[in-house]
Amino acid sequence: MAKGDGYISAKESRRISRENRKITSQMEKIKNRKHVDPSEYETKMKNPDNILEIDNLHTFFFTDIGTVKSVNGVSFDVPKGKTVGVVGESGCGKSVTSLSIMQLVQRPQGQIVEGSIRFAGEQRCIDIAKATTSVMQEIRGKEISMIFQEPMTSLNPVFRIGMQLNEVLELHHPEMTKEQMKARTLEMLELVGIANSEGVYKMYPHELSGGMRQRVMIAMALCCDPSLIIADEPTTALDVTIQAQILDLLRGLKNKINSSIMLITHDLGVIAEMADYVVVMYAGKVVEKGTAEEIFANPMHPYTLGLLASKPVVNKKVDRLYSIPGKVPNPVNMPDYCYFKDRCEMCVEKCSGQYPEMVKVSDTHYVSCYRYYDEGGVK
């Protein structure tokens, strides 16, 4: 175990890395198998109205200083045709959750160790946590696609835009001819609001601005009409005017192609504008989830309250914005009690006990805090 502030001896580090390699190489072997019986990863959805059900997901990183529990028991659903916003501060596991859904977590260090991610595909329902790499390659880009937070570096600098978009179609729709692909790509570029689509088709990424590149990324994500779009902080790297345009675009497109969106952000304004449901994450766990109205009108968890208080409000004059005191606990050595206890200003006696379970407040609203144990039954 780590001593002091996470400093460990070289001997200790070697032992940990040796053990890690043993665990990860075994997991890699399972993931990389070629021929697997479909019964291993095919499941049934608990609720047919959902497109995605994440159940008790654990994604760990096996690093040389110990196991980092980035996602530690996350559960939430994404209903069909709805937008789910995931909020939380940097490093709380939002991005790792989304990467787990795509099986794009940095391997071999990062691994899904427990839980299930049930995805309702077109023909069959698949548990992504158990799917092999080859099964995932059929889903990625076709049924689930992802928009990344770094438009400046997310496009390959040495290939033309047209080629990079055609590649997705070529892969998932081998029956299309070259002309059909080009027509589809140009159509997609126009759909995301690029006026000079013929010109952009022949350009290299460095010839486009950040906003344009993010549009291209969105066009790429929408190429195959995916049923779920994961947008991992799609507007963080863009300036405010472009942000509004991109969000408008996403909202418009959602209605056009009727897919679900999982929107990851730390910007509560974006969530309020876009999301139907909100999931608040803290230190690898979901602390509160509910509909957007419930979260904004009746926030319950002290962390959600803190987040909302630290958001600037128009027409309200304050000297300093509120900031949540303290810092996020060390991810290697998580305490046994509520992770937020050390920063919480509303602690009750019970707080030093075990990590609180999810409390059901309404049919859609859940919170993980001891203060509400009396209000609703423990789930």
Binding site: R21, M102, L104, T133, M136, Q137, E138, I139, R140, G141, K142, S145, M146, F148, E150, T153, S154, L155, N156, P157, V158, F159, E167, V168, L171, H172, Y204, H206, M217, M220
Partner: protein, 329 residues
């Protein structure tokens, strides 16, 4: 692009002019003097003239009685017309001697170059893909051993094992004892090829390490970049991600070194050639230089300077070919 190349070529001529002057000045300052050695020999051979008299006469014959600038002027005025004079040591025209020996070295270096590329780039990619695995550690350790091994030591060990103990190869030379008696040209080529095996192995092993490490580092950087994640998110197979998306980006830094390797193809490998008795350019230029053969050395050095300049130009052009971001419009 055309304008850019013409500009670079004009600049190259300027650089060559100064480079050749510096080489000439250095050659004149060398502590070894061909004329002095010759005069000494002639004076000792007996006869009417003394050392000083021989010196004066030979200096005039070889054009060393002139000053640095005059001497350089007379050399360059002939060199521009393509006349590089006669080699003092080999007593045949410089270009003829050069043409006689260059092919031995060129063939040796081209084979090594192809092997180096063919081995080190795939190995570097493999090591990067499996970073910190057993494969990676094995490859990098072998590469480090290759970099650290001096070629003279490694060549000697190889000769001890394969020539002395096992007796598979001859110790010296590019052809076997009965080369002239062989009937068909194919047999003659095979005989030469057999003698090239050990030198090629030596040069390849000592050179793959650097390029392999370089490829590995660059590949690692590319593999961690965002666009590789995008490529995977598209659903592309790992093979396409590595061989298409990642490799094209790894090529960018690699072509810049490959351009710099051009002069290396012609410069010869002095130590290896000497050890295996290959009459290549490396060995020949070494002999010419220690005896102060100014015409031959001047030609050889100038040739290398031209190749170096062409190599940098070539790598600039290749750079633009593989990286759209640096293309000049």
């Amino acid at each position: 692009m055309k304008k850019f190349i013409i500009k670079r070529l004009l600049l190259a001529i300027m650089i060559l002019f100064f480079v050749s002057f510096i080489i000439y000045a250095l050659m004149r300052c060398l502590p070894t003097s061909f004329v002095e050695a010759l005069a000494n020999k002639k004076a000792q051979a007996g006869g009417s003239k003394t050392f000083a008299e021989w010196m004066a006469q030979l200096n005039a014959v070889y054009g060393l009685d002139k000053g640095l600038f005059d001497g350089y002027g007379s050399w360059i005025s002939k060199a521009i017309t393509g006349d590089f004079g006669e080699s003092w040591k080999f007593t045949i025209p410089v270009t003829q001697k050069f043409a006689d020996v260059i092919w031995y070295s060129f063939v040796l270096n081209v084979i090594c170059f192809i092997l180096e590329m063919g081995i080190s780039i795939p190995l570097g990619i493999l090591a990067a893909r499996k970073q910190y695995s057993r494969t990676d550690y094995t490859i990098t350790t072998i590469a480090l051993m290759g970099i650290s091994l001096p070629s003279f030591f490694f060549a000697t060990v190889l000769k001890l094992i394969f020539c002395v103990k096992l007796g598979w190869f001859d110790l010296f030379g590019v052809v076997g004892k009965y080369h002239e008696q062989l009937n068909t040209p194919l047999e003659k080529i095979l005989d030469m090829g057999w003698h090239y095996i050990l030198p090629v192995v030596t040069l390849t092993i000592v050179s793959i390490g650097a390029l392999m490490r370089y490829t590995r580092t660059n590949m690692l950087e590319v593999l961690n970049s965002d666009y590789i994640r995008t490529a995977r998110a598209k659903g592309l197979s790992e093979k396409v991600v590595i061989n298409k998306h990642a490799f094209r980006n790894t090529l960018i830094p690699i072509v810049t070194i490959v351009g710099g390797m051009l002069p290396g193809l012609f410069s010869g490998a002095m130590i290896t050639e000497t050890l295996f008795g290959i009459p290549g350019i490396g060995y020949t230029s070494y002999q010419a230089m220690v005896e102060g053969d100014i015409p031959f050395t001047m030609f050889y050095m100038l040739f290398l300077a031209i190749l170096t300049l062409l190599g940098t130009l070539l790598s600039d052009i290749l750079y633009a070919v593989v990286d759209p971001r640096v293309r000049v419009n």
